[in-house]
C-alpha cells in the first residue's frame, strides 16, 4: 500500500531531482510486483515500515506496538488521506490560479498566499488612473483596488485619512483593478470612472464603498440609481456604451504586469504593501520618507 504513496511522492520528486530517481524506481518495483517473499533483498515497504515503527517507538513504545499491529489498516487510511488531501491541494492550486485564492470566489485563509511576496511586485510605470494630491511632489502613492473587494473597502478609511493629511505633499494615483472573483466588480469600475467624467468620482466612490454588498448584488440598477442621486446626466450613456472601458482595461493590464495578486496593493515610491493593513503601512512609509526629507 505504502509503495503506491512512495511511488507517487518519489515519482514527483524525481522530476525535479535525480537524487530521488533510484527511490522512485524501487517504489515502482515494489508497487508493481507486490511480491511477498524477497529472499535476498529488503523491499522499500519493509524499510518504510521499520523506519516509521522505530520512529514511533522512540516517542512511545506502546504506540509503536499499536501502529505495528494495525500497520496494514493504518497504511490504507494514510493512503486515502494522502490522496484526498492531494486532491484538495490541487483544487486549491486551480482556484488560486483562477481567483487568486485557494478557496475560490469566497476567499478566506489561503496557504499559497505565503508564496506571494510584495517584494516580488514590479512598480507601475504610468500615472494612468484617478489622480489626486500634489503631482509635483517627490512622493507618489499608487493604489490598485477593487470597489467590490472587502479588503479595499477596509483600507478606504486609511486612504481618506492619507489624502486629508498629505494632499499637499504626495501624489496619489488610484488604479482600478477589478477582481474577477467579485461579482460586478468590473461594472463598478466603469460606473466610478463614468462619474469621474462628470467630476463626481470621489463622491461616487464613497457611495460604492458605503454600500458595497448592495452594489455587488444589484449591479446596473444600483449603479444607475446612485448616479441619479448625484445628478449625473451623461452617466447612463457612459455606462451603457462602456465609454471608459479602455481605461479600466489599461490599469487592469498594468496591474497584471506588475504581478498584483490581491487588492488593495499600495506602492509608495515603488515600495509595495498588500492587504487589509496596507493603507496604514503606506502611511507609515510616507511619514518615514517625509522625515528623511524626501518631499
Amino acid at each position: 500500500m505504502l509503495c503506491f504513496v512512495a511511488l507517487f511522492v518519489f515519482g514527483a520528486l524525481s522530476v525535479f531531482s535525480a537524487k530521488y530517481r533510484p527511490l522512485a524506481a524501487r517504489a515502482f518495483d515494489c508497487a508493481a510486483r507486490k511480491i511477498t517473499l524477497r529472499p535476498c533483498q529488503t523491499g522499500l515497504d519493509d524499510e518504510i515500515r521499520a523506519a516509521s515503527i522505530a520512529g514511533i517507538m522512540r516517542i512511545s513504545p506502546p504506540a509503536a506496538a499499536f501502529a505495528n499491529r494495525h500497520f496494514e489498516a493504518l497504511s490504507v487510511i494514510f493512503t486515502l488521506i494522502f490522496f484526498a488531501s492531494m486532491i484538495v491541494a490541487l483544487q486549491g492550486i486551480a482556484n488560486f490560479a483562477v481567483y487568486g485564492n485557494c478557496n475560490g470566489p469566497e476567499g478566506g485563509f489561503c496557504i499559497y498566499s505565503g508564496l506571494q511576496n510584495p517584494a516580488f511586485l514590479k512598480t507601475p510605470k504610468t500615472s494612468e488612473g484617478i489622480v489626486a494630491g500634489n503631482l509635483s511632489s517627490g512622493i507618489t502613492v499608487v493604489e490598485f483596488g477593487c470597489y467590490i473587494c472587502p479588503y479595499t473597502k477596509e483600507a478606504e478609511e486609511g486612504v481618506q485619512r492619507l489624502l486629508e493629511n498629505y494632499a499637499s505633499r504626495v501624489a496619489f494615483v488610484y488604479k482600478p483593478f477589478p477582481l474577477a472573483a467579485h461579482k460586478n466588480s468590473f461594472e463598478a469600475a466603469i460606473a466610478a470612472s463614468c462619474a469621474g467624467e462628470e467630476g463626481k468620482y470621489w463622491e461616487y466612490r464613497k457611495m460604492l464603498f458605503a454600500n458595497q454588498s448592495w452594489f455587488a448584488q444589484e449591479g446596473e440598477r444600483a449603479f444607475k440609481q446612485a448616479a441619479r442621486k448625484l445628478n449625473l446626466t451623461g452617466f447612463d450613456r457612459c455606462y451603457d456604451e462602456r465609454l471608459v472601458e479602455n481605461k479600466i482595461n489599461a490599469t487592469l493590464q498594468e496591474g497584471k504586469e506588475c504581478g498584483i495578486y490581491g487588492t488593495p496593493t499600495f506602492f509608495v515610491n515603488g515600495k509595495a504593501f498588500v492587504g487589509q493593513r496596507a493603507a496604514e503601512e503606506a502611511e507609515a512609509e510616507i511619514r518615514r520618507l517625509l522625515a528623511e526629507g524626501r518631499a
Binding site: 524477497r38 529488503t42 519493509d46 521499520a50 523506519a51 522505530a54 505495528n68 499491529r69
Partner: protein
C-alpha cells in the same frame, strides 16, 4: 585477547559508533591491511611475473611473499595456494574443473551456501552429474553414522562446508574427509565461514581442496584462495585461461604452467593478495586459538541474549560449542527485514536479514521466509551484545 585494544586498529570503528554484527557478510579492515594495500599502489604498482624491470621485480617478490604468508597461515605449501577473486570463484574452480570421467556423483549437504550449491547444480544441469546429500538432523547437525552410507563408490567429490553461514556451527570435516578418502572420493571444503574464526590446519583437516575469501577475515575484497594438495591441483582441468597461465603457445597447442599459475589468468589482484597476507599476519599475531576462545564467549552471550527475548526462535543447534559467534533467529511473527532495519534505526546495529544466500538451508532449518542474523568477530564485545539484547527486547513488544 583485548577487544578494546583491537578496536583501535579499525578506522571504521573509530569513525562510527555503529555496532557491526554483519561479519559473516564481510568484516571490517584493520589499518595494517589498509596500509599494506597502500604500499602496493604507492610504492610498487607494477605487474608481477611478466616484466623484468625493478618495479616489476619488487611486485613479484611481494606477491609471492604474500602467497607464502597465506600458506603458512593455513598450513600448506606455497605452490598449493591459488589466488582467486573470492571463495565463490575458488569453489567454482574446484567443482567445475574436477575430473568426473570415472565417477559421476557429487555429495554435499543442504546447508551449503549458494556459492557452492549452484556450481554443483550447474554440473548436474550441464554434465548430467548426480547429486547426493549427506543426512542432516532438523537442527542442521550432520549425522556422522549415516554420512558413511551417502558416500559411495560412484562419488567423485564430497563438497561440504566447514562452518555454515546460517548457524555458525562447525561440521566434522576431518571425519568426513577420512570416510571420503576411504571410498576413493576427493574432498572440497568451503572454508569461507571457518578459516576466519577457527584455527584451521589444511594438512590436519585432510581435505583435498579448501576455499576461502580474504574479505571475511579482515582482508580486502576481491581476493580469495583455493588451497589444493599439489596432486589434486595437478588433476584439475583448466578454468580461466589467458596471460600467465601458459608455458608456451603455438597456434596448434598450448602448454600450461603447473599449478598454481595454471589457474591464475591475467593480471592478478596484487594489492588484494598483499592485503590478504597482512590480514593473515594480523590474525596469526592475535593467535587463532585466542580468536576461537573470544568467539566462544561471545557465542554463549549471544545465544543467552536471544533466548531471553520473549517469542524468539533460534535456528540450528542451541549450543555455543563448536560455533563461531553467529546466530540466526526470528522474533515472533515480525518480518526479519523489519527486525534488522529497526535494530539499525534504534541502536545502530548492523545485522543481516533474509535467507543469507542459502535458501535451501534456511528452508531446512525451518525459516523459509528468512531470518535475522547476528555475526560477531574479534572486535565485538559483550557490552555490544547487551545493547543488542535490550533492543530486541523492545522490538519484541511490538508484536
Amino acid at each position: 585477547m583485548d577487544a578494546a585494544k583491537i578496536r583501535q586498529d579499525f578506522p571504521a570503528l573509530q569513525k562510527s559508533k555503529a555496532i557491526y554484527f554483519d561479519n559473516a557478510c564481510t568484516t571490517l579492515k584493520p589499518k595494517q591491511v589498509i596500509e599494506a594495500q597502500r604500499i602496493y599502489y604507492e610504492e610498487l604498482a607494477g605487474c608481477a611475473g611478466r616484466s623484468s624491470h625493478s618495479i616489476a621485480k619488487k611486485t613479484t617478490e611481494r606477491f609471492e611473499e604474500s602467497r607464502r604468508k597465506v600458506a603458512k597461515f593455513i598450513g600448506c605449501l606455497e605452490n598449493e595456494v591459488v589466488w582467486t577473486k573470492n571463495a565463490t570463484e575458488a569453489l567454482n574452480l574446484a567443482v567445475r574443473s574436477f575430473d568426473y570421467s570415472k565417477r559421476r556423483k557429487i555429495v554435499t549437504t543442504r546447508l551449503e551456501h549458494h556459492s557452492l550449491l549452484l556450481p554443483i547444480m550447474e554440473m548436474r544441469r550441464k554434465e548430467g552429474l548426480e547429486i547426493g546429500f549427506l543426512p542432516l538432523g532438523a537442527d542442521g547437525a550432520l549425522d556422522e553414522e549415516k554420512a558413511a552410507d551417502a558416500i559411495d563408490s560412484k562419488t567423485a567429490l564430497v563438497a561440504i562446508h566447514c562452518a555454515t553461514n546460517t548457524t555458525g556451527l562447525r561440521c566434522p570435516v576431518e571425519k568426513i574427509a577420512k570416510i571420503a578418502h576411504e571410498r576413493g572420493a576427493a574432498v572440497l571444503v568451503d572454508g569461507a565461514q571457518a578459516v576466519p574464526h577457527f584455527k584451521i590446519d589444511f594438512r590436519k583437516m585432510g581435505a583435498d581442496f579448501l576455499a576461502f575469501s580474504g574479505h571475511k577475515m579482515l582482508g580486502p575484497t576481491g581476493i580469495g584462495c583455493l588451497i589444493g594438495k599439489a596432486d589434486a591441483l595437478e588433476n584439475l582441468e583448466t578454468f580461466l585461461v589467458g596471460g600467465e597461465t601458459v608455458e608456451q603457445v603455438d597456434i596448434e597447442r598450448a602448454v600450461f604452467l603447473p599449478p598454481p599459475k595454471k589457474f591464475e589468468a591475467g593480471i592478478q589482484n596484487y594489492a588484494g593478495a598483499i592485503g590478504m597476507a597482512a590480514a593473515c599476519e594480523y590474525l596469526a599475531k592475535i593467535g587463532m586459538e585466542n580468536v576461537e576462545r573470544h568467539e566462544q564467549r561471545l557465542a554463549e552471550r549471544l545465544l543467552e541474549a536471544i533466548a531471553s527475548v520473549p517469542g524468539s526462535t533460534l535456528y540450528g543447534a542451541k549450543t555455543h560449542k563448536g560455533r563461531c559467534a553467529l546466530a540466526s533467529f526470528n522474533i515472533k511473527s515480525i518480518k526479519p527485514h523489519q527486525v534488522a532495519l529497526m535494530c539499525d534505526s534504534l541502536s545502530g546495529i548492523a545485522l543481516r536479514s533474509g535467507v543469507f544466500c542459502a535458501q535451501p538451508a534456511m528452508s531446512l532449518l525451518g525459516a523459509p521466509q528468512g531470518a535475522v542474523r547476528a555475526s560477531l568477530y574479534i572486535y565485538n564485545t559483550e557490552e555490544e551484545i547487551g545493547i543488542f539484547g535490550e533492543t530486541l527486547e523492545k522490538i519484541s513488544k511490538i508484536a
